[in-house]
């Protein structure tokens, strides 16, 4: 779709695609689309939660024992890291609305750094599990917990944390695009911040899913 042309030299403004009636409608459409997409993401994880619930019901002891074997400290640190990163992602939107493009970039870089931190901690958790053998299904060889259902717990654990990590990576890609644009083009402003907002919405989802996963896997 052709975009409204910007005269050279003028302040780059929001671009209205030709098929929308107004900027308002365009923004509304983008947000509604994102909300719907996030809903589908939550439903994707909801399927996993259903599996978790079913097997927890079938294997209560194995579930309790395996859950206690996770590293609560690392999990907690990761939760704090993600919640903080959600805050910086929200700040990026705030600055975008004020047109402070540099700050948008800085906030996004902070978010990205925390995301990397999250993945590094996750990596060490995984590494430890590979080492002691708390692995999914067929590959389970940990002697410490020999209850029926323990391998299943780790199937659920790996499936959900891996899927979540994948979302972290996707979220990072989305944020990276907005970061580059904030630094390079710098055209975010009060009426042109949709891209930052959508990226931040996605990041909140990543955070939100983790907030469900953390108590589910580590605490209960």
């Amino acid at each position: 779709m052709s975009s409204a042309h910007v005269t050279p030299g003028s302040v780059p403004g929001p671009k209205l695609a030709a098929h929308f009636a107004s900027l308002e409608v365009q923004k509304h459409a983008a947000r509604l689309g994102m909300w719907l997409f996030l809903a589908t993401e939550i439903l994707l994880f909801a399927g996993l939660f259903a599996c978790y619930a079913a097997y927890r019901f079938l294997f209560p002891e194995a579930w309790a024992a395996s859950s206690r074997s996770l590293d609560l400290t690392m999990g907690t640190i990761n939760t704090v890291v993600l919640i903080t990163s959600s805050f910086t992602a929200a700040m990026a939107v705030h600055y975008a609305k004020e047109g402070k493009n540099k700050m948008v970039g800085h906030m996004n870089v902070l978010t990205l750094l925390m995301a990397v931190g999250f993945l590094v901690i996750k990596f060490f958790e995984y590494k430890h599990k590979f080492h002691i053998g708390t692995l999914p299904g067929r590959y389970y060889f940990y002697e410490g917990i020999q209850l029926p259902g323990a391998p299943m717990y780790f199937s659920v654990y790996f499936a959900s944390t891996a899927l979540h990590a994948l979302h972290v990576v996707i979220g990072m890609t989305v944020l990276a695009f907005a970061t580059v644009r904030a630094y390079r083009v710098g055209d975010f402003s009060a009426n042109n911040y949709t891209q930052v907002e959508l990226g931040s919405m996605y990041w909140h989802l990543v955070d939100l899913v983790w907030i469900f996963l953390f108590p589910m896997l580590y605490l209960v």
Partner: protein
């Protein structure tokens, strides 16, 4: 012109004048003719046409597999292939037909083409996402077909575990392909929902939307709400197949029935992803060819949403014999029957529309008649199989195969063909030969009945589905079914011939049906941005026809 043409559409030139105008405004078909201008287009109409081409191709592929199945079942013993090949062939038939044809057929082709036109919009809300969803669909199809050619799989289209986790055939790429196709389905659904919410032209309120739009909207809601769950399920089974997660494998403490719950949580609503758009098409067709506003517009609109809603609570009827408690089975049975109630509302309203209408018995209307029969008959067999005590006998027999082909395939194919014929002039500005249209419609409806009525009988007599060999006594009915299938195939060949002919040599037309649907308020074929000149206005309802009794004379040249 009658006073009713005060539906002022500056871009719309009624009747004969359209011819003069065509030269000045290139249609979407002629606006750029390079391959690239098609492959990279963001025009919803071109995307719809590209979907049409691919979907017809996959329909052909699935159809060839269907004929192979029927030929194999011509004799009780081996006929043209071995048992393993047979398992692969019926799996491929199911996967191709369901995921590559039936689910996307009407929404992706006609929904894409018509939704913006029916809302007076220049395009869908996210045109580039729309193009992306086409390529995502093709990528998924590519994955699935690649897996099928490299070994194929023998699980049936339902991929039931634990078998699908253990079989040595190529399951993973096909599952992954289906996952990707689901993603495309989600993107299309999202796009349609947002388009309906934000792109309606001034004057088109919710209750002035064409019923096709209501049906597409309800379908999109199901797509968005149900598809993620099967997406996850397919991922888990893929992982299970590759890494032995054991998630649904009894040997590792997994629960195959959990798989069935999650599978049918999607796949039961998915059957409405297939039939709801069909209902939408039929509401348009019946109104146009009865020359009456649809009887009970609101009831038809609400019942689409109603079906979408209760469709989510009926999945358990696929598991009556999976060790479900009697109580659960009863609840699921009753909830299933609610769907029948909503469908009946629609049926009564369609019949009420035809009643005392000025019926024009054209090809699309012929398909409407076939559709009505398949829906009512198939729906009633649905009520029958939703009755627990009966389903215990019929489960996994050819009775179920006949039931879902009647309602799902019968209704969807009737609607697909009705849509193809009804909107062919809209899409290409050309007209096909009515006579051949009616002949092939008769052949197809007849062939369909001849194929599946024997399957009800043979299933009731006890022949299980997905079996390669069967006892002598089932042969007569199987031969009848195969004969019906060849009739069906013959009908499709005729259609392919006369539509191709019409595409090249067809007479130029603009609105051969004198339809009052909003999509006809612009040229056929439409220009690139749908309308020439300023935004059309919509003072009247979409299915507004002058009372046929009063206007019999005038209407014909509206």
């Amino acid at each position: 012109m009658t006073p009713s043409s005060s539906i002022a559409a500056p871009g719309a030139v009624p009747g004969h004048e359209a011819h003069d105008d065509h030269g000045h405004h290139p249609s979407y078909l002629t606006d750029g003719t390079t391959v690239k201008s098609w492959l990279l287009t963001v025009d919803h109409k071109r995307i719809g046409i590209m979907y049409l081409a691919w979907i017809l191709l996959f329909f052909l592929v699935g159809g060839i597999f269907a004929l192979l199945i029927r030929i194999e079942l011509l004799t009780p013993g081996p006929t043209i292939m071995d048992a393993m090949t047979y398992n692969r062939v019926f799996t491929l038939h199911g996967v191709v037909m369901i995921f590559l044809f039936m689910i996307p057929a009407i929404p992706s082709v006609f929904g894409n083409f018509l939704l913006p036109l029916m809302l007076g919009a220049k395009d869908v809300a996210f045109p580039r996402l729309n193009l992306l969803s086409l390529y995502v669909y093709l990528a998924g199809a590519g994955f699935a077909l690649w897996g099928m050619l490299n070994g194929g799989l023998d699980t049936g289209w339902t991929f039931y575990t634990p078998y699908s986790a253990h079989t040595t055939t190529t399951v993973a790429p096909v599952l992954f392909g289906a996952f990707i196709i689901g993603f495309s389905s989600i993107l299309t659904g999202m796009n349609f929902i947002v388009t309906t919410h934000t792109m309606r032209a001034p004057g088109i309120t919710w209750f002035k939307m064409p019923l096709m739009v209501w049906a597409l909207y309800a379908t999109s809601c199901i797509q968005v709400l149900a598809t993620p769950v099967i997406g996850l399920l397919l991922l888990l089974v893929t992982a299970e197949n590759l890494f032995s997660l054991g998630m649904f494998d009894v040997a590792r403490g997994g629960d195959p029935v959990l798989f069935q719950h999650l599978f049918w949580f999607y796949s039961h609503p998915a059957v409405y992803i297939m039939v709801l758009p069909a209902f939408g098409v039929m509401s348009e067709v019946v109104s146009t060819f009865s020359r009456k506003n649809i009887f009970g517009y609101r009831a038809v609109a609400y019942s689409s949403v109603g079906i979408a809603f209760v469709g989510f609570f009926a999945w358990g009827h696929h598991m009556f014999v999976s060790g479900q408690s009697t109580f659960n089975a009863g609840v699921f049975g009753v909830l299933s029957m609610l769907v029948g109630v909503f469908t009946a509302i629609k049926v009564f309203n369609w019949v009420g529309t035809v009643y005392k209408g000025a019926v024009e018995f054209s090809t699309p209307f012929a398909y409407f008649c076939g559709f009505l029969f398949f829906t009512v008959f198939g729906g009633m067999t649905g009520i029958a199989v939703a009755t627990v005590s009966l389903d215990v006998a019929w489960h996994d027999t050819y009775f179920v195969v006949a039931h879902f082909h009647f309602i799902m395939v019968g209704a969807t194919i009737m609607a697909f063909l009705a849509a193809l014929h009804y909107w062919f002039p809209k899409m290409f500005g050309k007209m096909y030969h009515e006579g051949w249209g009616l002949v092939s419609a008769a052949l197809i409806i007849l062939g369909f009945n001849a194929t599946f009525i024997p399957q009800f009988l043979v299933g009731n007599a006890g022949m299980p589905r997905r079996y390669y060999e069967y006892p002598e006594r089932f042969q007569a009915l199987n031969v009848a079914s195969t004969a019906g299938a060849s009739l069906l195939a013959f009908g499709f060949i005729i259609i392919a011939i006369y539509l191709t002919y019409a595409l090249i040599y067809g007479e130029r037309v603009d609105n051969p049906w004198h339809s009052k649907g909003y999509e006809w308020l612009t040229h056929s074929p439409p220009p690139t941005h749908n309308f020439i000149g300023p935004q059309p206005t919509y003072p009247e309802e979409p299915h507004f026809y002058v009372d046929p009794k009063k206007a019999q004379g005038e209407v014909s040249d509206v």
